[in-house]
């Protein structure tokens, strides 16, 4: 049976292109793909290859390891990934269950909810940054008005500043992942829930035995994809804390740029090479999922 299928497929393929012969089709396809290949070679392959070459010296890694900021950065990146992404995805899963409800005001809210994602990061993150200003920011002014005491110096405490960067990151990208998970929820056939209701299943059981099994693959894919994106998230940290105080809130995304601006390209690349063991398994996994 397989042999005949292949045979028909092959014949069909052949007849499809009989018009202008195989080589002509290949020539055209090369022509069409050429612009992308040129961009890929010029702006991905060459830069990446060149940078690996710049980062080839073992000395760089010794120097990097002896930089206390680097160790701190690795820890920060790890905390950022584990905490921010899991909180964000759990919230997105929860909120997708909220936005699936059919109410007119939920629909209106869904439209507004996308704003953080639709609006550029710079003005909104800077807006948050000023809200957190210890003297003039609205948050500390409100704290003072209610308690007659000075609020904390938010961005001057490394732990607090990093947590706030995570919060900004969540604020910015929560809508996107909520929408994706919402699309996943909408794809679950409604009959499943009706049948479960007839059987008297409560909300928790409906989630546990219907929603979660149909969405777990999507949820895991989204989490991994979000990890890859978040490793490259420069804005949430840089625009809020600038890596400060005392370079204690850097993540790998901002550290590379910091070295670059100090004209230490070798170190910048070495710090990125050090992130590869973290990234490559994720990328491998995502490639297997998506390139079908």
């Amino acid at each position: 049976m397989t042999a005949t299928t292949i045979d028909t497929a092959a014949r069909r393929e052949k007849s499809r292109w009989a018009g202008f012969g195989l080589s002509e089709r290949q020539a055209w396809s090369l022509l069409f793909v050429a612009p992308y290949v040129a961009i890929f070679i010029g702006f991905v392959l060459f830069p990446v290859g060149y940078s690996f070459w710049l980062a080839r010296s073992p000395h760089l890694y010794v120097e990097l390891a002896s930089d206390p900021i680097f160790l701190r950065t690795v820890i920060n990146t790890f905390v950022f990934l584990v905490v921010a992404i899991n909180v964000k995805m759990a919230l997105a899963l929860f909120l997708s269950g909220f936005f699936v409800q059919k109410r007119w005001w939920v629909k209106v809210l869904a439209v507004l909810f996308v704003l953080p994602w639709a609006v550029p990061s710079i003005p909104t993150i800077l807006s948050v940054r000023f809200m957190l200003n210890p003297e003039w920011g609205v948050i500390n002014q409100l704290i003072f008005a209610f308690t007659a005491e000075d609020g904390p110096n938010w961005l001057n405490d490394p732990a607090l500043a990093l947590s706030l960067s995570m919060l900004v990151h969540i604020w910015k990208s929560l809508p996107f992942w909520t929408l994706i998970l919402l699309a996943g929820r909408l794809a679950i056939p409604g009959e499943l829930y009706e049948a479960a209701s007839v059987d008297g299943a409560g909300a928790w059981h409906r989630f546990r035995y219907i929603t979660w099994p149909s969405m777990s693959t999507l949820y895991v894919t989204c989490t991994l994809l979000s990890m890859i994106f978040t490793v490259g998230d420069f804005n949430s940290v840089y625009l809020l804390t600038g890596g400060g105080p005392a370079d204690l809130t850097h993540v790998l995304a901002t550290l590379g740029i910091r070295y670059l601006r100090l004209d230490q390209v070798g170190l910048a690349m070495a710090s990125i090479v050090c992130a590869l063991p973290l990234i490559l398994p994720l990328v491998y996994f995502m490639m297997r999922r998506l390139s079908r």
Binding site: Q26, W28, S29, L30, F32, V44, P47, L225, D233
Partner: protein
Amino acid sequence: MSPRRVLRNIGFESGLLLIGIPVLLWTLIPIYHMFLFAISPKDAAFSGQLWPTNPTLRNFETVLGQKHHFLNHFWLQMLNSVVISLGTAAITLFVATAAAFAISRLRMKGGRLVMNLALLTYFIPAAFLAVPMYKTMGMYGLLNNDWALVLAMATIASPYAIWILRQASDKLPVELDEAAMIDGASPFQLFRLIYLPLMVPSLIAVGTYALLLAWNEYLYAFLLLSKNTAITLPVALGNFLSADDSPWELLMTAGFLYALPPAAIYYAFRRYMSSGLTAGAVKG
């Protein structure tokens, strides 16, 4: 309905409200704060009022009239942003449409490899590619040139664009191509007369994606462009931070103006965006 059922419904509805109200506040506070600054005189903005006693449009006048030294080139920088975004969208569309056509419709040999390389590029975190990109643009002599940013953004936008377009293109029936070829159409005619017209919704989605990506980009813009007359708006906004006594009310006003076009474009093309872009992600 039994009283118990009514009670349970009330409980559920108020539960929804208890989620909805915090979600609304969480979403809008930073944006409202930005808007508040834009319509407040400086002293009111800094005094922590939740609504200014005398709302004013003075800040907008200052920004649009370029009447502050931080904003001397506001309109030029806005124009740079527009040109770079449109350029990115055009190049991304050109490159990705052609590549997806070769891979999906012409069944190119090695098409799978090209697709995988593109996907691999998509998975390089943007901040990591920035360092190599900066060095290379320097070698090409493109620093401080609009083209540097346009090409960098097209490089970043193309992989996802190709992926989305290939998926959309795979859904078009093969019989269309077959019929056209029986009538003697060349591959280029297939591209122009069959493929392009049928792909319009996906092309709009991809074009919007590239446009917004370039408009919103900060990191690459501030690395690749530095002259005051060459930078885009986000870089100009970032430069406000270099001074201690920055006019934050003007920063927020300019930021508000800068945030309007992408929000408007997003909502205008939301239909295409959500069907085109989320479909790709959900499939995974």
